[in-house]
């Protein structure tokens, strides 16, 4: 597949670059937009961003490897981020993630993001999602879910399997 950024997205990004007196500042916003569009950050996306912003590809690659939200691999359509940090852990987020992993046939002890072979789910632990009063919380794609029970986890899995 050849890499091509749709002209509407390119126009949107060109406008975005005007928000900053120095174009390099737009790198993170470019990467967010490209990841949203393509699903993950490819070498081509890095080179394209570098070209657009007048940078070397290494300047963009070092961002992708530093910021945890950027992904080099394809992710599942249902992306489950379970909060690992203290308040959620006290409320059982460890058990919740284990439940997701076991139900989806993933390794409950692997820390890094794991994607199911059918490409439907990615499950990972993330650090504090800043909604500790509703622990345990899950960021499901873009949506933050409060007080997630294992029954809700099963619903998420059932829904995701149908997608």
């Amino acid at each position: 597949m050849t890499f091509s950024v749709p002209s509407s997205l390119e126009a949107q990004l060109d406008e975005l670059a005007t928000h900053y007196p120095v174009k390099r500042s737009a790198s993170l916003m470019f990467l967010h937009a490209l990841q949203e569009h393509f699903g993950h950050i490819t070498d081509e996306a890095i080179e394209w961003t570098a070209r657009k912003l007048g940078l070397q590809p290494i300047n963009v690659l070092e961002l992708v490897t530093f910021y945890p939200m950027f992904r080099r691999e394809k992710l599942g359509r249902t992306h489950v981020k379970v909060c690992r940090t203290l308040s959620c852990a006290l409320a059982g987020s460890g058990e919740l993630r284990e439940h997701f992993c076991k139900k989806l046939g993933l390794d409950p002890h692997a820390h890094a993001p794991q994607t199911t072979p059918d490409g439907k789910f990615t499950v990972e632990f993330v650090e504090c999602l800043a909604d500790c009063g509703n622990a345990p919380v899950v960021l499901l794609n873009d949506d933050l879910l409060p007080k997630v029970s294992t029954a809700q986890a099963d619903e998420i899995i059932a829904k995701g399997k149908g997608l």
Binding site: E62, L86, D143
Partner: protein
């Protein structure tokens, strides 16, 4: 019974209150901006003349407002450090990278009342001659970012933002910038590097004080979401009236995030220092007490980076007596007023206003192991003591928490923590070291007992290998 005092969250949770500009204006929104723009220049008794902007800056100083992000530094003083003679543009950045574990207050403002932040920002920008400002919001809040984009567009359409604001000739643009999952971006110089499109490696101070050499090496103000909202209320109420809220040197209100082992976790806005830690945890108006049959074990009082407090501790605090003399008074843990100075007096900090409560069912070893893993994951990797030390602490604690501890682990952990604090470019080093130092000091017996039990089990049988093998070290 102490109650909440809702200033920032006055409308946020009211039924029917929506985040759009029409609703905000219906509730008196943007009146503070109009008032600020119409501020009259002031002549001081010594004949010195203050411009309208200087008047607002002085008012913020006089209000006693202290930063709500974590450090609790005077906002007015921070503004006064800005280099206004360099001829370079001055930037303002709203730090909306809320990610200190335990904290979820800025989230409420951003999602429920974004225009309050926008209005506070516009006033703050005008008062500081800022023409271009950014809201740096954490990447994990995509809906919040969209809400802020929409709020800014609405404010632009009504000419509260953009060119020639309300006919005053003042131009200002504000843009939303999204982070991408790195805690270190909450550190203001790390945030600035990130906004410049780089890895968020904090800068060394001196010389890189943002007020002088900030964004693009220009003078820059970085303020927390809640802090900027307070500016609006200082303008509305006037500094003297505002300073009546709270307690001396700890003025105004602040939003406290309460989580962990309480009946009613949540966020509560209080007058600073008018409510005690005990009331926040036990009163029906706040946390509503512990779970049935449980007793209090420990409190993390100001976000995970603050030093832990142990149930039953008594602190010696400075108090002004009736005769005006300062004396040392014994204050038990639960009677500590929740403010900046009392928590500091107790050897910890109120930080980002986040309280995490732990009851007697919790193991302090497991709790600290959880926190240390956070710091190991979030260290930016720039300074060796922090990059390596935070990992060593996390590994050591993982061992101890999973049946492979040693009784000398307490000394080992303290030794590493002491070699991190004070040896790093930014305060993350302290943030990683303080929980470890305070936990192993205050709960030493528990850590030693765990190590001893593991050593005894080691000679007795192979079960511990099985336990550890089932939970491999994530690092």
């Amino acid at each position: 019974m102490p109650e909440q005092h809702k200033l920032i969250l006055k409308h946020a949770d009211s039924p029917g209150y929506t985040p759009d500009i029409e609703c905000y204006v219906r509730h008196g929104g943007y009146e503070a901006l109009k008032k600020a723009l119409g501020t009259a220049p002031r002549e001081l008794p010594d004949g010195k003349k203050l411009s309208a902007q200087e008047v607002v800056r002085e008012d913020v100083k006089a209000s006693g407002l202290r930063g709500r992000g974590g450090a609790g530094f005077s906002a007015g003083l921070k503004w006064s450090f800005v280099d206004r003679r360099s001829g370079k543009p001055i930037y303002l950045i709203c730090n909306a990278d809320e990610s200190e574990p335990g904290t979820f207050k800025d989230r409420q403002i951003i999602h429920k009342d974004p225009h309050q932040l926008v209005e506070g920002m516009i006033i703050s920008c005008w008062a500081n001659d800022v023409k271009l400002a950014y809201i740096y919001i954490r990447g994990e809040m995509p809906h919040g970012a969209r809400l802020l984009e929409k709020a800014l567009a609405e404010a632009r359409a009504k000419n509260f933002l953009g060119k020639n604001i309300l006919g005053t000739g003042y131009d200002l643009e504000i843009y939303v910038h999204r982070g991408a999952g790195a805690y270190i971006c909450g550190e203001e110089t790390g945030l600035i590097e990130s906004l410049e499109g780089k890895r968020a490696y904090p800068r060394i101070k001196p010389p890189y004080f943002p007020a002088v050499l900030g964004l693009y090496m220009c003078p820059t103000i970085v303020n927390n979401v809640e802090t900027l909202c307070h500016v609006k209320h200082i303008v509305t109420m006037g500094p003297a009236e505002y300073a009546k809220l709270g307690t001396p040197n700890n003025t105004g209100t602040r939003i406290v995030s309460l989580s962990g082992d309480v009946q009613k976790p949540g966020y509560f806005e209080i007058e600073v220092g008018k409510v005690t830690l005990g009331q926040l945890i036990f009163d029906a108006n706040f946390g509503g007490g512990l779970k049935p049959g449980r007793s209090l074990k420990a409190i993390i009082p100001g976000g995970s980076s603050s030093k832990v407090l142990k149930a039953g501790e008594v602190f010696k605090l400075n108090r002004k007596g009736a005769d005006g003399q300062m004396t040392k008074v014994d204050v038990p843990l639960l009677d500590l007023p929740y403010d900046f100075d009392s928590l500091q007096g107790a050897g910890t900090m109120s930080g980002s206003g986040a309280i995490i409560v732990m009851d007697d069912s919790r193991s302090m070893v497991d709790t600290l192991a959880n926190l240390s893993e956070f710091y190991a994951h979030e260290s930016c990797g720039q300074c060796t003591p922090c990059r390596e030390g935070s990992l060593w602490m996390a590994k050591g604690l993982h061992r101890l928490a999973h049946g492979d501890g040693r009784k000398q682990d307490v000394e080992y952990l303290s030794h590493i923590a002491q070699n991190i604090q004070g040896r790093t470019i930014c305060a993350f080093g302290e943030a990683a070291a303080w929980p470890v130092l305070s936990f192993v000091k205050k709960f030493k017996d528990e850590f030693v007992a765990r190590g001893e039990a593991d050593e005894a089990a080691k000679s007795a049988g192979p079960s511990r290998e099985l336990k550890l093998a089932a939970s491999p070290n994530p690092h």
